[in-house]
């Protein structure tokens, strides 16, 4: 596609923002990444996402696309050269979207209980979190990636949350590798890809952010 002006409104610890970065890297699309400060949101963010005022927002030739998996799908269609992120077969596409949606419905909210929760809420959160990861591990099966032989949409949807695993494990006092070894092996495999390695912050950096967040919000 010619004459592209691509801007990503982002916040570096956001798993949702990381998804978009990975997708753009996969497609070798150059973009201008702008970090948002939520104490004072930019006028661009407020203009481009008036409904939610949230990142990530992709602004392509002045037009905004919001909601991370929606953006990933848009990237796949707008830059339809290889590699494809979504399968071409309608049934496989529907399954990829189903699991992307499952990740959206569960991982962030339940994960939050693990790293910010206390007592019973945290224990229940931990249990549900591991259940969800095991469900996702089951869906992976013996495949190298969720996309089969190739890295794809569901891999993009899930891999950013692995940068938060150290934080979940430290606050939750759990070992994700013990509970879901195949999932952790999959994560390591994904990290060998340049698009992923470039887009995910180091887990210790995320942990540092989480510590600061908890202090600021009185969650210590």
């Amino acid at each position: 596609m010619e004459n592209n002006n691509v801007v990503l409104l982002d916040f570096w610890p956001s798993s949702y923002g990381m998804r978009v970065k990975i997708a753009l890297q996969e497609k070798r699309v150059s973009y201008d990444c702008r970090q948002e400060d939520f104490q004072s949101k930019s006028s661009l963010l407020l203009e481009m996402n008036p409904v939610y005022e949230m990142i990530p927002v992709l602004v392509h030739n002045g037009k905004p696309i919001c909601e991370s998996l929606n953006i990933v799908e848009y990237i796949d269609e707008a830059w339809n050269h290889k590699p494809s992120l979504l399968p071409s077969d309608p049934y496989n596409r529907s399954q990829a979207k189903f699991w992307g949606d499952y990740i959206d419905k569960h991982i962030y909210n339940i994960g939050k209980k693990v790293w910010t929760g206390k007592g019973k809420e945290q224990e229940e959160g931990k249990k549900k979190f591991i259940e969800c990861l095991k469900t996702l591990e089951g869906e992976l099966g013996e495949k190298p990636y969720y996309g089969g032989d190739d890295f794809g949409y569901v891999d993009v949807a899930l891999i950013p949350f692995t940068s938060w695993f150290y934080t979940y494990e430290t606050y939750g006092k759990l070992s994700i590798e013990e509970e879901c070894p195949k999932l952790v092996a999959w994560a390591k495999r994904c990290m060998e890809k340049e698009s992923v390695a470039k887009s995910l912050p180091h887990p210790h950096k995320i942990y540092g952010f989480a510590m600061q967040y908890k202090q600021t919000h009185g969650l210590v």
């Binding site: 610890p13 956001s14 939610y52 949230m54 392509h60 929606n70 049934y91 979207k97 189903f98 939050k112």
Partner: protein
């Protein structure tokens, strides 16, 4: 055209999400075999539990023995599989992204608000949920102008994805407006959507699909008893909407 036995729809007459799928199947003039779950989902059929082991919810489309779950995903599947029949999603990538965004927005806000209005007791308690619905209508009135580009439907000349995503709720909207005596879709505030709603329910692919208001009213009374009995859930509905701004901020950070 699909053989009737090739396409099965597991659903429930009253579910707006099932209504979406039925309308999509009609747009493509597809025959299908309908499997109706019982009124209380108690027990859920073996077919449903096998076809949707993750959620055990309707709708589920089963095509050539393979299940597809989640109503909007099913609508896209139908559009992609029967691609020679009238399109449901727009062809342009940006218009598609816009349609998907608004459909997801509707899913986040609309039915949970309606459900809360039926569940909570008292006008004051219902007020915030009506306000959410009114905000949705205001935004969709604006979206309609952008998406329709002067044509009769969100999809343009033909009904499309966003028409189906929102129009499926019109039956339940009637219930809410009549039972609680408060109009949400009003000419003064959303003239385009009021006219769109009339066109939508009259469309050949939609006629007879949206359940009659009286039948839904009767069901809503039974659901009200059930939902009020599970009153703990009301706290979740409340925190979901009253705490929405706070939840949004934390999601943004993380």
């Amino acid at each position: 055209m699909a053989n009737k036995s090739e396409v099965k729809l597991i659903g429930k007459w009253s579910s707006p999400y099932v209504t979406r799928v039925k309308i999509a199947l009609n747009i493509k003039s597809l025959d299908y075999e309908n499997f109706e779950e019982n009124e209380t989902f108690n027990p859920k059929s073996d077919l449903l539990l096998q076809s949707n082991p993750v959620y055990g919810k309707v709708p589920v489309l089963v095509h050539q023995h393979k299940p597809i779950c989640e109503s909007l995903i099913i609508v896209e599947y139908i559009d992609e599989t029967w691609s020679t029949a009238p399109s449901i999603l727009p062809t342009d990538a940006y218009d598609r992204a816009l349609a998907r965004f608004w459909a997801a927005y509707i899913d986040q806000k609309w039915f949970p608000s309606m459900q809360s209005i039926i569940t909570v007791e008292g006008e004051e308690e219902r007020k915030p949920y009506f306000e959410v619905m009114e905000e949705v209508v205001e935004r969709l009135e604006d979206a309609f102008e952008k998406c329709s580009k002067g044509k009769p439907f969100f999809g343009g000349d033909r009904i499309g994805y966003l028409d189906v995503a929102f129009g499926c709720f019109l039956g339940w909207l009637s219930v809410i407006e009549n039972e609680y005596d408060r109009k949400v879709l009003v000419e003064e505030k959303s003239p385009n959507l009021v006219k769109w709603a009339e066109r939508f329910v009259d469309h050949p692919a939609v006629k007879g699909i949206i359940p009659e208001t009286e039948r839904l009213v009767k069901l809503s009374k039974a659901l009200q008893i059930k939902w009020r009995a599970a009153i703990g859930n009301v706290q979740i509905f409340r925190s979901r909407f009253h705490g929405r701004k706070r939840k949004l901020v934390t999601r943004v950070y993380l």
